[in-house]
């Protein structure tokens, strides 16, 4: 695995001149449509001037009216249609308006799109991307706030990818579109407005960053001027932001030195960079927004347990409950900086 290093300043979360995640994704779609005429977009309400419920497809239908297809409210069929297109060598990108509706495409993903290649003895490929926004924090209530990606982690033949503000979301999406096999691309709603982080340099809270892998990188962040860290925080997507804030708080107020391992690819699992970090810290907290039970962190902990590494491990995740509409309840259900810090302290106590 190729490893690159650079440095990032954590305050770049605010006042950044960088493009937002939304802009980055949108640009990537522009570029994909422009450079590859096999690329098609399908989804509900994706036409201009609306440009999709979260505006990721804005400006695309105006430029590529023939290849941006707004659909009826038919999640299962849209994914089925796209997988038929993919089988016949187009490169469809589907938007599912809310990630909560992936339950409606489960059969098309599990028993069709992802099965075809292996079941047909590797004689076909299905270059299909399904993009969808997940996550809460916007008061959308129990059917519009979930993080259901965990249901699809481990599905044979499916790659699951999630952008974050450290990597290049657009490049990640471009790589997914270039893939010959199905990719489920998980975008947290709260990410859209966030500017990409910018490498910079210069003070105590700088992180030195190792990038492991090229296409769907895993990032290992270590505070640069510290010798030894004693806690690893593993996460993906939007929760990276919470994790960074927790890491700062732990550093400033508790003198707990964290490494952060940030994944872009959720499935298949590759925990090598994490294992590496854990050899240094011997303490792990996984942080994700989906429900705890059989969430992403479960597989991480299981693999680490199997690896035989001696480490204290805990998971921070949503309670195994629907996501309530009311703010105080939603807050109580979802992970937060505070919960991460508390879990870290508890873990540290052990």
């Amino acid at each position: 695995m190729k490893v690159k290093s650079f440095v990032i300043h954590l305050s770049s979360f605010i006042y950044s001149p960088m493009p937002t995640v939304l802009e980055s994704l949108n640009q990537a779609l522009h570029h994909a449509l422009l450079t590859d005429e096999r690329v098609y977009l399908l989804g509900e309400d994706i036409l201009d001037p609306y440009g999709g419920a979260f505006k990721v497809t804005r400006g695309l239908s105006a430029k590529f009216p023939e290849r941006v297809l707004t659909t009826p409210i038919s999640e299962a069929a849209i994914v089925g249609v796209a997988s038929g297109m993919a089988l016949r060598s187009l490169r469809p990108v589907v938007e599912i308006m809310f990630g909560d509706f992936v339950t409606l495409i489960a059969d098309q993903l599990v028993n069709h799109a992802t099965k075809f290649r292996w079941m047909y003895n590797d004689m076909v490929r299905v270059p299909l991307v399904v993009r969808t926004p997940m996550g809460g924090g916007r008061g959308y209530g129990p059917t519009h706030s979930q993080s259901l990606e965990k249901m699809f982690l481990g599905v044979p033949g499916l790659r699951v990818v999630a952008p974050n503000t450290l990597g290049d979301p657009g490049q990640l999406l471009a790589n997914a579109i270039a893939e010959d096999d199905p990719v489920l691309f998980i975008e947290h709603k709260l990410l859209y407005t966030r500017p990409l982080l910018q490498a910079s340099q210069g003070d105590l809270t700088d992180f030195e960053i190792q990038q492991c892998g090229e296409t769907y990188p895993t990032y290992v962040l270590r505070i640069s001027n510290l010798e030894s860290s004693n806690l690893t925080l593993a996460t993906y997507g939007y929760n990276f932001e919470l994790v960074c804030q927790a890491a700062l708080e732990l550093l400033m107020e508790r003198e707990i030195f964290c490494e952060i391992v940030l994944f872009s690819q959720l499935s298949p699992f590759d925990i090598a960079p994490l294992l590496d970090s854990l050899r240094r810290t011997r303490r792990l907290l996984t942080v994700e927004e989906g429900g705890l039970t059989l969430g992403w962190g479960a597989e991480i902990l299981a693999r680490l347990a199997e690896s035989g590494i001696q480490a204290n491990m805990r998971r921070v995740a949503a309670l195994d409950l629907p996501i309530a509409n009311s703010r105080p309840l939603e807050d109580a259900i979802l992970p937060s900086v505070e919960k991460i810090v508390d879990a870290a302290l508890a873990l540290h106590g052990t």
Partner: protein, 304 residues
């Protein structure tokens, strides 16, 4: 409840409630999402004027109007205050703040935010009423856009095969979010029902009396025949789909606003009646929102 004043009052309640709600959203006092029923009030008012208090209702994302009209005939009514509290995420809300705008439940009224998914559930409710011989029927609401979901057709098939007492109400406001019906619905809406041997009645009107008459026929057919029925109401949504997301032209909106169910029905009331309705409703809304605002937020309970 065929009284013109009562019909007007219910429509006005819905109108003013939704206006207030949109105002609260635009000043940032409310967060999340909401789907205003403004423009479609005659549907709910007309339909719930001919249903039984014990009939079972499954509504969709655009449920406020349905809820406010539901039970309007019964002494305790359906309480705008409890709805307002729910939308504010208060402990006193219809479902204690857990559901919010799209996910409410009160007596025999239910709603959920997944398009289409509620339709087999409502069909099962009709089955339950049938085998319990309660004499009650089920009503399920869907928009034109929801005609895209396959599970609707699975439900129509089962409802027809099993002779279930359910009324499917299609509110065709010609848009699904921003998607015009031409891009989303092929063939005909009525054809989607007749394909499954389900009769339909279709009305293109915002006159609550016409809708009431059609609903009476539709509800009567379901109750009498113990079989499903499709009531197709062509209607107009005046506001944006949820909050700021309107892509329709000003001209189009102006055109549909001419079919305002309140204006159509108003001449059937005296000036005094209209003034009374306005002031009663204003007070109800004000109370509802004031009380809801003052209410506490819920706390997490210990979970199973």
């Amino acid at each position: 409840m065929t009284d013109n004043f009562a019909l007007y009052r219910i429509m006005l309640l819905i109108r003013r409630f939704e206006e207030r709600l949109l105002a609260e959203f635009s000043t940032g006092k409310l967060v999340g999402t909401t789907h205003a029923y403004i423009g479609q009030e005659a549907n709910a008012a007309g339909i719930f004027s001919v249903t039984d208090a014990q009939d079972v209702i499954f509504s969709n994302h655009r449920c406020h109007g349905h809820f406010l009209a539901y039970g309007a005939s019964s002494p305790q009514g359906s309480d705008p205050y409890r709805l307002a509290a729910e939308l504010m995420g208060k402990a006193t809300g219809l479902v204690g703040g857990r559901g919010g705008s799209q996910h409410i439940h009160w007596r025999n009224f239910y709603s959920n935010g997944i398009q289409g998914g509620i339709l087999p559930v409502a069909t099962g409710m009709a089955l339950a009423e049938k085998v319990k011989k309660s004499g009650q029927i089920a009503l399920a609401f869907l928009g034109d856009g929801t005609l895209g979901e396959g599970v609707l057709y699975e439900s129509l098939n089962i409802a027809s095969l099993w002779n279930l007492p359910i009324l499917f109400v299609v509110e065709n406001n010609r848009y699904a979010q921003t998607t015009p019906i031409e891009l989303a619905v092929s063939g005909t809406i009525a054809g989607r029902f007749t394909a499954f041997g389900i009769p339909t009645l279709e009305r293109d009107t915002s006159d609550v009396l016409e809708i009431q008459a059609a609903a009476l026929e539709a509800v009567g057919s379901v109750r009498r025949n113990g079989r499903p029925f499709g009531l197709i109401l062509h209607t107009n949504r005046f506001s944006a789909h949820s909050k700021g997301d309107d892509t329709r032209s000003a001209a189009e909106i102006a055109r549909i606003r001419e079919k305002d169910p309140l204006l159509i029905h108003a001449p059937r009331l005296t000036d005094a009646e209209r003034a009374r309705a306005e002031s009663e409703i204003a007070a109800i809304i004000e109370d509802a929102f004031a009380q809801a605002t003052a209410d506490p937020f819920p706390k997490m309970k210990d979970e199973r």
